[in-house]
C-alpha cells in the first residue's frame, strides 16, 4: 500500500500550472522531505491531497483511497500564518478545540476525547506546555504543540507544512527528531516540507523535489544534483556537498538560503499558496 500517490496530476491556479502531469509515490511509513522554491507548489500539493484544492487532471490517492475532504487518515499541520497568536488561551484549549472542532451540536469534551488529547500531547512531549498560554510559548514549543494536533484521530499519513519556519537550528533539530520518532513509534508516513535540505538530510528516507511543474522523488544523492535541480529551477544549478551539508547554488547565490531569508523578511506575500484562501 502507498501512503500518497500522484498520477499525472495537473493543478492549475490563477492560470498557472503549479503541477503539470506530476507523478510520484510516497510509500507507507516513509519519511519524505519535500523541497522546492517558493511557489513551486509545496502547500498546494498538501491541500490537493486534503481535497481542498481541485486537480485539473490526473488522480491522487491517499492510502489507496480517493481524496476526500475531512479525511481523518491524514494528519495536517498547516503553516498557520492565521493562527491567533494574540489569544491568551492555554495550549490545551487550542488542541481541544481541534479535537472536537469538526462536530456540530455542542459536542462534549468527554473522557475518551481528553485521553486522546493527552495521548497526542505526550507523543510530542507537550503535556506541560499545554498548560501555558500559546502566546507565551517559544517558536519551537509552539510547533510541538501544533504538531500534536496532527496526531488526533490517529492518522496514517502526516502532512507537515514548513514546521521549521522561523526556528533557530537547535529547535529545528528538535522538531525533526520528533517527526522521525513519530514515524517510528506510530508507523506513519510523513511528508515534511522545508526550505532547506540540511536540517532534514540525516532524518529523511527520500526527498521529493518540486519545481517547474514537475515532482522528482528519490534518494537525496540521486535528486539533489546539478542536472536534476537545473531542470526543476529552470536555471543553471550547482550542488556543492561538504560532508552532510548541501549547498544549492545558482551562480554564486545560495538558492535555499536566499529563499529562506526572503520568506522571513516579507510575510505579506504568500508565494507558496498561489490562491487566495477563503
Amino acid at each position: 500500500m502507498s501512503a500518497l500517490r500522484f498520477d499525472d496530476v495537473t493543478i492549475r491556479l490563477g492560470g498557472r500550472d503549479i503541477l503539470a502531469a506530476a507523478s510520484f509515490i510516497v510509500e507507507d511509513r516513509e519519511f519524505i522531505g519535500m523541497l522546492g522554491a517558493n511557489g513551486a507548489g509545496k502547500t498546494t500539493l498538501m491541500r490537493a491531497a486534503l481535497g481542498l484544492t481541485p486537480v485539473a487532471s490526473g488522480s491522487i490517492s491517499v492510502l489507496d483511497q480517493p481524496v476526500t475532504r475531512g479525511n481523518s487518515s491524514i494528519g495536517y499541520m498547516p503553516q498557520n500564518r492565521g493562527l491567533a497568536l494574540g489569544v491568551r488561551l492555554t495550549g490545551y484549549d487550542v488542541v481541544a478545540s481541534a479535537a472536537i472542532g469538526a462536530r456540530f451540536g455542542f459536542a462534549r469534551l468527554d473522557k475518551a476525547t481528553r485521553r486522546e488529547i493527552d495521548w497526542a500531547l505526550d507523543h510530542v512531549d507537550a503535556r506541560d506546555l499545554a498548560r501555558r498560554s500559546i502566546g507565551e510559548l517559544s517558536g519551537g514549543e509552539r510547533q510541538r504543540l501544533l504538531l500534536s494536533q496532527a496526531l488526533l484521530g490517529r492518522p496514517r499519513l502526516l502532512l507537515l507544512d514548513e514546521p521549521l519556519i522561523s526556528l533557530d537550528p537547535a529547535h529545528q533539530k528538535g522538531v525533526v527528531d520528533i517527526a522521525r520518532r513519530l514515524r517510528d513509534e506510530l508507523k506513519v508516513a510523513i511528508v515534511f516540507s522545508a526550505h532547506e535540505l540540511n536540517p532534514l538530510v540525516n532524518a529523511i528516507d527520500r526527498v521529493l523535489y518540486l519545481g517547474a511543474g514537475a515532482a522528482v522523488i528519490g534518494a537525496v544523492d540521486e535528486v539533489v544534483t546539478g542536472p536534476v535541480l537545473s531542470r526543476l529551477y529552470g536555471a543553471e544549478i550547482e550542488v556543492v556537498r561538504i560532508k552532510d551539508r548541501f549547498f544549492v547554488m545558482a551562480g554564486d547565490v545560495d538558492v535555499e538560503h536566499d529563499a529562506h531569508r526572503h520568506e522571513h523578511g516579507d510575510h505579506v506575500h504568500s508565494h507558496d499558496r498561489g490562491d487566495a484562501h477563503v
Binding site: 481542498l52 498557520n80 491568551r88 487550542v94 484562501h277
Partner: protein, 263 residues
Amino acid sequence: MFEYDFMRTAFAASGVAAVLAGVVGFFLVLRGQTFAGHALSHVGFTGATGAVLFGLSPLGGLVGFTLVAGIAMGLFGEKLAERDVAIGMMLSLALGLGLLFLHFYTSAATQAAALLFGNVLGVDNSALLTLLLMAAASLAALAFIVRPLIFASLQAELAEARGVPLRFVSAAFLAIVAIATAECAQIVGVLLVFTLMVGPAAAAQNFSRRLAIGVALSAGLALAEAWGGLTLAFYSDWPTSFWITALSGVVYFASIAARRLAA
C-alpha cells in the same frame, strides 16, 4: 427601585441582552471581528429609522437589517485586506441613510436619541418577550455551532482541512451577532453596542486563559455592568447608557492592569 414596574422590566430586558451580548461578544473578540459587530449596529440604525418612517416597528427593522447584513458579511468571506475598508464604508453609508430617514420623519429628535444612545426604561412587556425569545434562539444556535466556530476562529486552515464549512460557520455566527447587536441597541443604543458586546468579552479574555471560564466571566461581567448601570442611573438620575459605558470602561482597563501585573 423594584417597586416600579418599568424598573423591573428594564432589569429583565437589560439582563437578557447583557447575557447574550457577553456570550456572543466573547467569540466576536476571539475572532477579531469586533469592527464587524460595530458596523452591524449602524446598519441596524438604518433599519430602525426606515421602519419608523414606514410606520413599522423599529425593533423589527433593526433586527431585519442587522440579520441580512450579518449573513451577507459572513458569506462575503474574509478577504482580510479589504475587510476593514469595506465594513467602514458600509457603516458610514448606513448611518447616512438612517439620517435621511430621520430627516423625513417629523418627530426625529427623541427617536434618534433613543436609537443612538438607548432607552432601556422605554422597553415594554411585549418587547421584553421578543428580546427573551430572540436571545434563547440565538444562544441555542450558538451552542449548535460553537465547536466548529472556536476551531475555525483559532485555526482556520486546519479547521478547513478537517472538513469544517468555514463560510457557513462564519455566516451563521454573524447572524447570531446581528441578533445580539439588535438586543444591545435596545439597551444602550446603536452607538454604544461596543460597551456590552466587546468590553466585558475583552476584559474576560484578559482575566482568564481558559475558554469556558472566559465565556462565563464575559456573560457575568456584562450582566453586572448592565444592572450596575441601571442601579446607578436610578439613584443619580444620569443616563443609564452613560453608567454602563463607564462601568464597562473601568472593568476593561482594570483587566489590562491585572494582565500586566500577572505577566
